[in-house]
């Protein structure tokens, strides 16, 4: 039986929704419902590269990702999850092919070092020592942080969900939020396809569909969705330590502990929308880049390609706040392709915000009003 009332209703069973639910319950608010229209991780979370890097170009992202990495490192014990979340910390190697990239990396690295992130600029030869199968033709240098890495997004989400459930949170899968009811400017309840739930607090954690949830309370949110494609190979013996990425070529490539290589690329001409289909052009173009950058991988077989949605804001930074016009309507949306890696700290700050506690990170700058005020937190380093 579904509950007919809750203190907080979270819309979205991705890593963000589950992390918020767990933190609410841990802080004592256990009367929480998570609604997921399909199954857990059906959205971007279950389709993502799950890379975790602290090498960012804004103080905000450096702080959020560093705090999150601190949590990923202890997540298995913290959430008492019996399956390994497969955190692999062999670093992120960020390739530079243009002088202006080197200049940007230098700025980023001095910021990162000041914030306690152990990154450095390295030569092409040093890069090849770290990734012996890397073709360094045309490479000018690279940025490297050995404490970066990636994890298994399914198990991370399940770990949060299971821990939240043990604390009393209810998670309803295959249950869609259809509407949000209000009286005056107060939220009074959520309408699902399985019945109504009375509540005064709703959290929009709907990923690529966050705009539609905003519409339910009359908001036109400054976000849009965009397909990003990704593919996986058959598993082979361990070969590649770090996640390798290139802003210039718009790609990333990693080998997960299971042995498979996972790789993806952004397409600057991708139209906005909710399409999560696949294209042969993606397979061909990315395969070309990978074979040129890592020649030995040419004999690996691709077994599947798929796609998911980035939810993007005008400054490629998330929106984490309560809507000023709609009290009780909270949002953790617009992660612009890096929501997995900052989910642990997002869960904490959103729970603090919802419970009226002091917020432990300077995320007030990530409010909705920043776009109107023109106070964008522009991030120079996104794939």
């Amino acid at each position: 039986m579904m509950k007919n009332s809750a203190e907080v209703v979270i819309i979205g069973g991705g890593v963000v929704g589950c992390a918020i639910a767990y933190n609410l319950a841990k802080m004592g608010c256990t009367d929480v419902v998570v609604l997921e229209k399909e199954y857990l991780t059906a959205g971007a979370t279950g389709r993502c590269g799950a890379g975790i890097r602290q090498q960012w170009g804004t103080e905000m992202n450096c702080k959020l990702s560093k705090a999150s990495m601190d949590t990923f490192e202890v997540l298995n014990e913290m959430l008492e999850y019996p399956v390994d979340i497969e955190l692999k910390q062999n670093g992120y190697l960020i390739l530079a092919y243009e002088e202006k990239e080197i200049e940007q990396f230098k700025k980023n690295i001095s910021l990162q070092n000041r914030l306690g992130i152990d990154s450095r600029l390295i030569s092409p030869e040093e890069a090849r020592e770290i990734v012996p199968h890397l073709n360094i033709d045309g490479l000018l240098g690279a940025a490297f942080c050995g404490r970066d890495g990636h994890a298994n997004p399914f198990h991370v989400t399940q770990a949060y969900a299971d821990a939240a459930k043990r604390l009393g949170v209810e998670i309803y899968t295959y249950t869609s939020c259809m509407d949000i009811e209000r009286e005056g400017d107060q939220i009074t309840g959520v309408v699902t396809d399985k019945g109504k739930i009375k509540t005064s607090k709703v959290v929009n954690a709907a990923g690529g569909y966050s705009d539609l949830i905003g519409n339910m309370v009359g908001l036109e949110l400054p976000v849009f969705s965009e397909r990003h494609q990704i593919m996986v190979t058959e598993p082979v013996n361990p070969l590649q330590g770090p996640m390798v990425i290139s802003f210039y070529h718009h790609f990333y490539c990693q080998q997960v502990p299971h042995g498979a290589f996972i790789m993806g690329q952004g397409d600057p001409n991708e139209p906005k929308g909710h399409n999560i289909g696949h294209s042969w052009q993606f397979l061909q173009e990315l395969s070309g880049k990978i074979v040129r950058t890592f020649p030995v991988l040419k004999d690996l077989r691709v077994v599947r390609q798929w796609s998911g949605l980035y939810n993007i804001t005008p400054d490629s930074q998330p929106i984490l706040c309560e809507a000023p016009e709609v009290p009780g309507f909270y949002m953790a949306i617009g992660f612009s392709g890096h929501g997995f890696m900052i989910a642990p700290i997002t869960g904490v700050v959103m729970a603090e915000m919802i419970l009226g506690k002091e917020v432990s990170m300077p995320v007030h700058k990530l409010d909705l009003g920043r776009f109107e005020r023109g106070e964008l937190v522009l991030e120079p380093s996104v794939v």
């Binding site: 199954y39 074979v291 077989r301 798929w306």
Partner: protein, 92 residues
């Protein structure tokens, strides 16, 4: 007695492991594969999906109509990166 019949050959999963995961709440093929990797290997479910769907039906009581097949994605068989790259002329 341990039920060690293999249901998913690529990922080496026994019937017992599959049943355990379904009982823990993974009640569709898509949900199940995300936690135990059935259907994520070289065959992409082409050998195991039917058998695993039967296990889901038996344990959850859902009918075939209520259980969607997993989404089909390319390539239909594994393809070498060098072959997939053929025709990509961007030599940058």
């Amino acid at each position: 007695m341990k039920d060690d019949v293999i249901l998913c050959f690529c990922e080496d999963l026994t019937r017992e492991e599959v049943r355990e995961a379904i009982k823990k709440g993974s009640d569709s093929f898509e949900a199940l594969k995300r936690l135990i990797r059935c259907g994520m290997g070289a065959c992409q479910g082409k050998t195991c999906e039917e058998n695993i769907q039967r296990e889901i039906m038996a344990i959850t009581g859902k009918t075939r109509e209520e259980l969607p097949l997993q989404r089909q994605r390319p390539p239909s068989v594994g393809i070498f990166l060098q072959d997939a790259a053929r025709g990509d002329n961007d030599e940058k």
